[in-house]
């Protein structure tokens, strides 16, 4: 199986481990991910905040590149990129005049053919069926599945999962043997693009998320977006300052969790790259899973 793939800038840089884990999991499931040729940045928050045409044209060029390469579906692991591409596609399909204008800007008559698939859809529909029965070391952990804003909103456009209290990531965690907690901050905002410019705000917003996960006894927060990850991981200092307490709970990408369950070497999943060490609590006796490559073995890498 071959699928189009748009990594986005973060996965090539600060969230390299996300890329590594997506690739490792895909390979493990026998799926080939083919990057969109010569892709560019989607413009993230900055572009649409500053300039409407730019905010549409940058994602449109990505769509154009994929369309020209004959890609029918593009897997987009970054929730922010996913949102930009989905929204752009939606707007252009809704408004023919706009589609023509943007097509002129990007010098390509875009038909918006490629479908955009987020990481949860990718895991659910492609990876999980392929690895069913091959869970080597169940990811037997109590975790908080954190979806963030952009995976489910605006529901009117994305039409993905339930708007409040989504379930798809929880379902994947359950299928790899995990125990997703019921919590209240699944889709609360982490502070997103204000990471650099308003770090203290991010500290507070992300702090509330970690705090709720902590109260409910999560051992880790599972994420599906590099932006969420960097706010919850990289910005741990700001969080601890805002909340006035320490948090040792790691933030792990969903693909890393799936990879661990598949028995992929933690280093290949980039688990060593996190700022907050991926270290799990000792389990009470009798709760240790059978697998030799228990994620506990990942320890601090």
């Amino acid at each position: 199986m071959k699928l189009g793939f748009y990594p986005g800038c973060s996965l090539e840089g600060s969230s390299r481990e996300y890329n590594e884990s997506v690739m490792a999991v895909a390979a493990g499931a026998g799926i080939e991910l083919e990057p969109v040729p010569d892709w560019n940045c989607c413009g993230a928050t900055a572009a649409h905040n500053m300039n409407r045409e730019l905010g549409l044209s940058l994602p449109a060029r990505i769509l154009a590149k994929a369309e020209a390469a004959g890609m029918k579906e593009i897997v987009v692991p970054c929730a922010a990129c996913y949102s930009r591409l989905k929204v752009t596609r939606h707007e252009l399909l809704e408004d023919e005049e706009l589609r023509r204008r943007i097509s002129a800007i990007i010098e390509y008559d875009l038909r918006c053919e490629p479908e955009i698939i987020n990481v949860l859809q990718f895991l659910d529909s492609r990876v999980m069926p392929a690895i069913e029965g091959r869970i080597k070391s169940p990811f037997d952990r109590r975790v908080a599945c954190y979806y963030g804003c952009l995976l489910v909103r605006p529901h009117k456009i994305l039409k993905f999962d339930r708007l409040e209290d989504p379930r798809s990531m929880d379902e994947i965690i359950r299928r790899i043997g995990g125990d997703p907690i019921d919590w209240a901050f699944k889709t609360e905002c982490c502070g997103a693009g204000l990471s650099v410019s308003k770090t203290e705000l991010v500290g507070r917003l992300s702090g509330r998320i970690l705090e709720d996960a902590r109260i409910r006894g999560a051992e880790a927060v599972i994420v599906a977006c590099p932006m969420c990850h960097s706010n919850l991981d990289l910005r741990r200092g700001a969080i601890e300052k805002a909340m006035n307490r320490k948090y040792d709970m790691p933030a792990i990408f969903i693909t890393q969790a799936v990879g661990l369950a598949m028995g992929i070497d933690p280093a290949k999943l980039g688990l060593n790259r996190h700022m907050v060490p991926v270290k799990f609590r000792e389990r009470p006796a009798g709760k240790v899973p059978a697998g030799p490559e228990s994620p506990a073995a990942a320890g601090e890498v």
Partner: protein, 194 residues
């Protein structure tokens, strides 16, 4: 009173322009406040989202200028919480985008939003020069612009050692087109994207 002016010239109002340019009907808002109640940034805003809508409804040059000069429009993160819960389905994030563009165009940006805007500029510049985000360049550029020279100094080396920073920017082949997209968009869109 500031509200009188636009009543007979509804189309010239900012609310009228929003409707025309984005299709977002400001008048439909019945001020329930659900958006402000759920907005994660409301506490940090000078005017919570429902208040922005009220100011636009009342209209008039004074209130409209206050909206365009607000910090709110820059601190809004497009998290879409408001839109997804608004009983009147008012697309506040799209409206915010438009207000930001207008604010830039008219040079009315809030002084409190300087850093946010600088960061966006650095971000776009990075794309413009390489086609992709060059994170190191972005941070360096932003620091220079914002003069927050010491911010994150402890983080960077750690990131580097974790393999999270690319020191050499990657440049895409289609860069000339990206440049053209930038220049065309700056002509058509709100902000001079340079």
């Amino acid at each position: 009173m500031s509200t009188d002016a636009h009543h007979d010239k509804a189309t010239a109002s900012l609310a009228g322009a929003i409707l025309e340019q984005t299709g977002v009907p400001v008048d439909k808002c019945y001020q329930c406040g659900k958006c402000s109640a759920g907005c994660p940034l409301a506490a940090d805003m000078d005017y919570p989202p429902s208040l922005i809508l009220r100011m636009l409804q009342a209209g008039g040059p004074e209130l409209e200028e206050k909206v365009l000069r607000s910090y709110t429009i820059w601190v809004c993160l497009t998290c879409e919480t408001c839109y997804s819960r608004c009983p009147m389905e008012i697309d506040i994030p799209v409206m915010m985008d438009y207000l930001r563009h207008e604010s830039l165009r008219l040079g009315m940006t809030s002084p409190r939003a300087k850093d946010i805007i600088r960061f966006h500029r650095s971000f776009l510049d990075s794309i413009k020069y390489t086609g992709r985000l060059y994170e190191v360049g972005l941070v360096v550029d932003y620091k220079a612009r914002s003069m927050h020279l010491l911010q994150d100094v402890k983080l960077a080396p750690k990131m580097y050692f974790k393999g999270k920073l690319n020191l050499i920017p990657e440049t895409i082949k289609g860069l000339p087109l990206i440049r053209r997209i930038f220049s065309r968009s700056s002509k058509a869109g709100g902000e001079d994207a340079r």
